[in-house]
């Protein structure tokens, strides 16, 4: 009755998401007992394995370090999980682009359903997950022998990093003749990662242009904030898609979320309504965003943003 967590990596480093998934695994373990193992797969990922070994509650880290696992390609990672899954009753990953890419392959090859994006653990087989962009919460029970689950980070408080689990090498090497890595274009930024930031400031269609997003930079610098965007701003071509907060983008729940020039479509609210404090700046005092904002400021963002930056 043990649980396997697939570690989430970004540029070969462990991302913050994994500590949230281990927290969800602990809630399952409270019902089932057994171990929590973390699989770190990739190439040149010793540092990530060591970081995973420090996560509280982890029994052991299983390290699969081989060129075939480089760049987290779905086919080899899925095949590796299929090999390892026999030792476990639950396999968990974060609802990041890697977890979403790989885990359904495991589920299909084991002929079980997957439970996507859980936000609560009711028991070892019953979980809560948002559906319809978070406008309904489903309680689902899985009767499958193997539970394959992706975990929404914001649903679970991250575990600490005071542990010292052992690291064991996995020798399984799978083949892959179907997919190959060509290139990655990753945004280089000194700002915190969107889904891990304590403060997020997002712009919407009201920003008017990609150039105007620079108005958010000074405020983000002063608050140590990540910068996000609504789908409307992404669709309009102002900013890249990886900045999107919402149903089909990132789900965030920072201490402070500042929505600027965002009307508040349900798809956007789905991505940020669990933030502790929400501030909305919009010139339309009827904008739906004000129905969820703790503090609303009606006015011209091109006047308000420079003033806000100055006063912070």
């Amino acid at each position: 009755m043990s649980i396997l967590v697939l570690a989430d990596l970004h540029e070969d480093q462990l991302t913050g998401a994994t500590a949230h998934v281990v927290a969800a695994a602990q809630l399952i373990q409270n019902n089932t007992g057994g171990n929590i193992d973390v699989l770190v797969a990739g190439e040149g990922i010793q540092a990530a394995a060591e970081a995973a070994a420090k996560l509280d509650g982890v029994t052991k880290v299983r390290l699969a370090d081989n060129a075939v696992y480089a760049n987290q390609l779905a086919e080899p990672l899925g095949a590796l999980l299929v090999e390892l899954a026999n030792d476990y009753t639950h396999v968990l990953a974060s609802t990041t682009t890697t977890g979403k890419n790989v885990l359904p392959r495991l589920a299909a090859l084991k002929d079980v359903s997957q439970l996507s994006d859980i936000i609560a653990v009711d028991s070892a087989d019953t979980f809560k997950r948002p559906i319809y962009a978070g406008n309904a919460i489903a309680t689902v029970k899985s009767g499958d022998a193997l539970k394959v689950i992706t975990v929404r980070s914001t649903g679970f408080e991250a575990v600490g990093a005071n542990g010292s689990a052992s690291v064991e090498t996995v020798d399984t090497v799978v083949g892959n003749r179907q997919s190959s890595f060509v290139k990655a274009e990753l945004a280089q930024s000194d700002r915190p990662e969107l889904s891990a930031a304590k403060v997020v400031i997002s712009g919407g269609r009201g920003m008017g242009s990609g150039e105007n997003f620079k108005l958010l930079n000074g405020i983000a610098d002063k608050l140590g904030a990540a910068i996000g965007a609504s789908r409307a701003a992404v669709d309009a071509g102002f900013v890249p898609n990886d900045m999107q907060v919402g149903q089909t983008g990132k789900i965030v729940a920072p201490d402070l979320y500042i929505a600027v020039g965002i009307s508040g479509a349900i798809q956007h609210l789905a991505g940020m309504k669990d933030s502790k404090v929400i501030v909305a700046v919009n010139k339309d005092d009827e904008a739906p965003i004000f129905q969820v904002a703790d503090y609303g400021l009606v006015g011209d963002l091109f006047e308000i943003l420079p003033e806000l930056e100055l006063r912070l």
């Binding site: 540029e11 760049n71 086919e75 899925g78 682009t97 890697t98 890419n101 885990l103 359904p104 392959r105 495991l106 299909a108 002929d111 079980v112 359903s113 997957q114 996507s116 948002p130 559906i131 962009a133 406008n135 309904a136 919460i137 489903a138 309680t139 689902v140 899985s142 009767g143 003749r177 179907q178 997919s179 190959s180 060509v182 990655a184 274009e185 990753l186 945004a187 608050l223 789908r231 992404v234 898609n241 990886d242 089909t248 402070l256 798809q267 309504k273 502790k276 404090v277 501030v279 129905q291 969820v292 904002a293 703790d294 503090y295 609303g296 400021l297 003033e307 806000l308 006063r311 912070l312």
Partner: protein, 249 residues
């Protein structure tokens, strides 16, 4: 090359959903339904590949109730050549849909299968990946660019923190992200023409696929509503509230 494109009938994305009084599910009676937005992008991409001469035929397939034929007719109006409707009134879980699509792939031998990355009702984001695993074909998920090049396809994927481009052997499975294209609107003459395009109707039993799943839906409830707060009059008041009331600065 033949392209298979999967479409799903879902609640229209503008509709505000209601939970049933007995908490058994979301109430879909008398609600406007539409093609899942990511499936529209999938159809558009398939049609563009045909217009470019890369594809020779576009086949649309949908698993769902009889009414899903409306969405297949939409796909035909947008440029698909023929449609396959696999009719079922049961709750169609991702795994069962992937198994049905895998059977269709076996029959049709498409060079490319294009699906939406997720449906906006269940928000599962599973079917394309499951189909790839079941057919033992490579997958390019969350695509923002698809370029067929000889016996390979290059897929640029929207990943956390940026973009990743991978090369896949054909046949391959692709799932669409938002920025792949902007779907066209169907023109009236095309809607008329679509009514005459061929549609075959099958059942899961025809393919020997069991729709039942081991996952049961115990309860569906509304999320806790967030209460609106107050309007502040100035930047100064906002900063004061954030510092002294909310204590987040």
């Amino acid at each position: 090359m033949k392209i298979l494109v999967a479409v799903k009938r879902v609640i229209d994305y503008n509709v505000k959903i209601r939970v049933k009084a007995d908490y058994s599910d979301v109430d879909l009676s008398n609600v406007k339904m539409a093609m899942n937005p990511f499936c529209e992008i999938a159809v558009e991409e398939a049609v563009r590949l045909k217009e470019k001469g890369v594809a020779t035929e576009v086949v649309a397939v949908s698993v769902g109730p009889k009414a899903a034929q409306e969405q297949l007719r939409t796909a035909l109006a947008l440029g698909a050549d023929r449609a396959i409707h696999i009719e079922t009134n049961e709750r169609a879980e991702s795994l069962a849909v992937a198994k049905l699509l895998a059977k269709v792939v076996d029959e049709e031998h498409p060079g490319l299968v294009i699906l939406g990355k997720q449906a906006i009702d269940t928000d599962n984001n599973q079917t394309g990946q499951m189909l790839a695993a079941l057919t033992n074909l490579p997958q390019g998920t969350f695509a923002s660019e698809v370029t067929v090049d000889g016996d390979k396809v290059n897929v640029t994927r929207e990943i956390d923190g940026g973009l990743q481009t991978i090369a896949l052997t054909l046949p391959a499975i692709v799932t669409t992200d938002l920025r792949l294209n902007e779907p066209r609107y169907a023109k009236l003459p095309d809607i008329m023409k679509a009514k005459k395009k061929p549609m075959s109707v099958k059942t899961p039993a025809d393919y020997g696929v069991e729709m039942a799943s081991k996952v049961s839906l115990l309860k569906v409830e509304s999320p806790t509503e967030r209460k609106g707060g107050i309007k502040v009059a100035s930047v100064d008041e906002l900063i004061d509230k954030l510092k002294n009331e909310a204590k987040v600065l």
